[in-house]
């Protein structure tokens, strides 16, 4: 598969941005700068990156509680994201949402979601709008292995399939719903097998291989744009950190984590980029420094931003 150089560069930059953002948020959370529940995407960067590399600005995504990677990949502003995590007035949601509720409707980001499986029907609705209005917009609906056991999964995939809606259901299978392993939460090895119930394609890919994700989703997006309906793409991946910041992760072994880290999507892609002659080690280092500075700017922006004034609690309940 020939992927243009510019896109490969974007993928690398995007994965680094997510990794750097998330690792910095972990520190900031420990330091008490961000609050509430924070679910980090470290280790899963290749999924959001490979998916969103196929999307246009006017396409939509629905996200999850583990949403930072999706938002960054769809073009979310780092300063506004960080300020929201800090609970500041300048944040994406003016300090009303926090990590689990960041949205940017202008960018097609229909919101992270605090309810597991809560975003499936909205993704179908955005797909419905595309069909109703006769646009060729598509929707990428991110969800975890745990969410695929919710009733909304079934309702949404069924509706999207009978109406041939342009939705790509992207399962990020990180093998745990909080502490419960996939083996104990479903009786099948592949979430993608569930596609058979809706007579739609179900594809399994290595979710730590950004190009594999890109390629699989490219097919699914093509199918969606041409009116052939939804696809279920399962990306096998792993979260390095706990379910939330503060999770003691007593439910998995260190050995398991070590094994997954050997398959880390970023070094793997770096090797590919060098092999393909896209980027030298120096260029990579330069990019890493650049992104690190960008994240520090976001932290500075957030830290220097004003808090909301207490009376703002009443704003924006109704339109």
């Amino acid at each position: 598969m020939a992927v243009e150089k510019e896109k490969l560069n974007w993928m690398y930059r995007n994965m680094l941005t997510i990794r750097n953002f998330e690792e910095r948020v972990a520190e900031l959370f420990a330091a008490g700068k961000c609050f509430g529940f924070v679910h980090l995407y470290v280790g899963e960067e290749a999924v959001a990156t490979g998916v969103c590399a196929n999307l246009r600005k006017e396409d939509y995504i629905t996200s999850t509680h583990r949403g930072h990677g999706h938002l960054i990949s769809k073009g979310g502003d780092l300063n506004l994201m960080m300020a929201e995590l800090f609970g500041r007035r300048t944040g994406y949601c003016k300090g009303k949402g926090g990590s689990m509720h960041i949205a940017d409707v202008e960018l097609g980001i229909l919101g992270a979601n605090g309810i597991v499986g809560g975003g499936f029907p909205a993704a179908v609705g955005a797909g419905f709008t595309a069909k109703y209005k006769g646009t060729d917009h598509v929707v990428a609906c991110f969800f975890g292995d745990g969410a695929s056991n919710q009733g909304t999964f079934h309702e949404a995939l069924n509706m999207a399939s009978i109406w041939k809606l342009p939705v790509v259901f992207v399962n990020e299978n990180n093998f745990y719903g909080i502490s419960l392993s996939q083996k104990r939460s479903m009786n099948i090895p592949d979430v993608a097998a569930r596609a058979a119930s809706y007579n739609i394609p179900g594809v399994v890919v290595d979710g730590n291989d950004v190009l594999a994700v890109y390629e699989a989703v490219q097919e699914a997006v093509k199918r969606a744009r041409s009116g052939e309906g939804p696809t279920l793409v399962e990306c096998k991946t792993y979260r390095y950190r706990g379910h939330f910041e503060g999770d003691p992760t007593v439910y998995r072994t260190e050995e398991e984590v070590r094994e997954w880290k050997k398959k880390d999507p970023i070094p793997r892609f770096e090797t590919r980029l060098s092999q393909m002659g896209i980027m030298t080690e120096d260029q990579m280092k330069q990019l890493r420094d650049e992104i690190s500075n960008q994240i520090e700017e976001a932290v500075k922006f957030a830290d220097e931003s004003p808090w909301p004034s207490p009376e703002e609690v009443l704003d924006d309940v109704y339109a």
Partner: protein, 324 residues
């Protein structure tokens, strides 16, 4: 003026709004050729086709949730939930998604959608097809709750609900669908958040909703023969609630009875009574009375159901307690 049933008035509001605004569409179970379980969407599919009058599978979360997504991306869906009792199946999509998106997103999302749903007991449909659950939604910031009692109000309020940029729960009492009333042929709106005095009086204010408005009017008529003058106030929308009209009436009568078909405990009347205690205590000459269903599920047998549903006699008794 021309008379229409409430059913036909709602149908006309849908038809005229769909004609006016191509972004308005209807979805729900059996709303197409079947015309809706209560016949409210009859004929719409002939005029607007299956692209805009959409039969869904029996899938309440996807009906409401897809409407949320469509509304967030520029359409104005009107979803029908066949029976209000079914809201439990899709509650997350209503109260965690539709209601909260705007606030959670810092005012950056707009969710202009309507959920029409049929409430009310009276047909031996028992505990899962008869409930009046409007108080649940009054309790959720971000939702509006509309509950019409007449054909005129039903049409005008539905038009306003469709044009409103917030999620609206539009509650239709299924046993007044056949009631007729005057309805202008032209499009018009009845504003949300504005109560209506259905009958003027000077001795006691009766605040009643939906079917109970009619029971209250019957009670008022009967009481007038005994020299008791009852004012009947219909809030028409329960969220936002028109405190002002209610208080104005109490300033005149100094006595109030609240009537609804929902159960009394934590029902809509509890909030209305609390509001009156907060804001109109000085005008009251007697305790606030409530006439509502007992704290039980809706029973099946006609004998039990009749006992369950508040009727004219109970309203008359409550008024007499205040005027004795």
């Amino acid at each position: 003026m021309r008379k229409l049933t409430i059913r036909a008035a709602i149908n006309e509001a849908l038809r005229q709004e769909m004609k006016r605004d191509p972004d308005v569409y209807v979805l729900g179970e059996d709303v197409g050729v079947f015309g809706g379980c209560f016949g409210v969407t009859a004929g719409l599919i002939d005029e607007f086709g299956p692209e805009r009058v959409i039969d869904t599978p029996i899938t309440e979360s996807a009906i409401v949730g897809s409407a949320v997504g469509a509304a967030a991306t520029g359409l104005r869906p009107v979803a029908e939930l066949m029976f209000m009792d079914f809201v439990g199946v899709t509650l997350d999509q209503i109260f965690n998604q539709a209601a909260k998106m705007r606030y959670m997103f810092g005012g950056k999302a707009t969710i202009p959608m309507v959920i029409r749903t049929a409430c009310g007991a009276g047909g031996s449909a028992a505990a899962q097809h008869s409930q009046s659950l409007e108080a649940w939604f009054m309790h959720v910031p971000g939702l509006k709750v509309v509950a019409p009692s007449t054909s005129y109000d039903a049409k005008g309020l539905l038009v306003s609900s469709i044009r409103d940029d917030n999620p609206v729960i539009f509650v239709e009492h299924k046993f007044i669908y056949d009631m007729e009333g005057e309805v202008p042929e032209d499009l018009y709106t009845v504003p949300l958040g504005k109560a209506d005095v259905k009958r003027e009086g000077s001795d006691v204010t009766v605040i009643a909703t939906m079917a109970m408005v009619h029971r209250a009017l019957e009670a008022a008529e009967e009481l007038s023969k005994e020299g008791v003058s009852v004012e009947v106030v219909d809030p028409r929308t329960l969220q936002p609630l028109d405190n002002e009209t209610i208080i104005e009436s109490i300033k005149k009568t100094h006595k109030v009875v609240i009537v609804h078909e929902a159960v009394k405990f934590a029902g809509p009347g509890a909030e209305i009574a609390a509001m009156i205690a907060d804001e109109a205590f000085d005008y009251l000459d007697a305790p606030v009375k409530r006439v509502a269903a007992p704290f039980t599920p809706v029973p099946f047998s006609p004998v039990l159901e009749k006992e369950y549903i508040p009727g004219k006699e109970k309203i008359i008794n409550a008024v007499k307690e205040l005027t004795a």
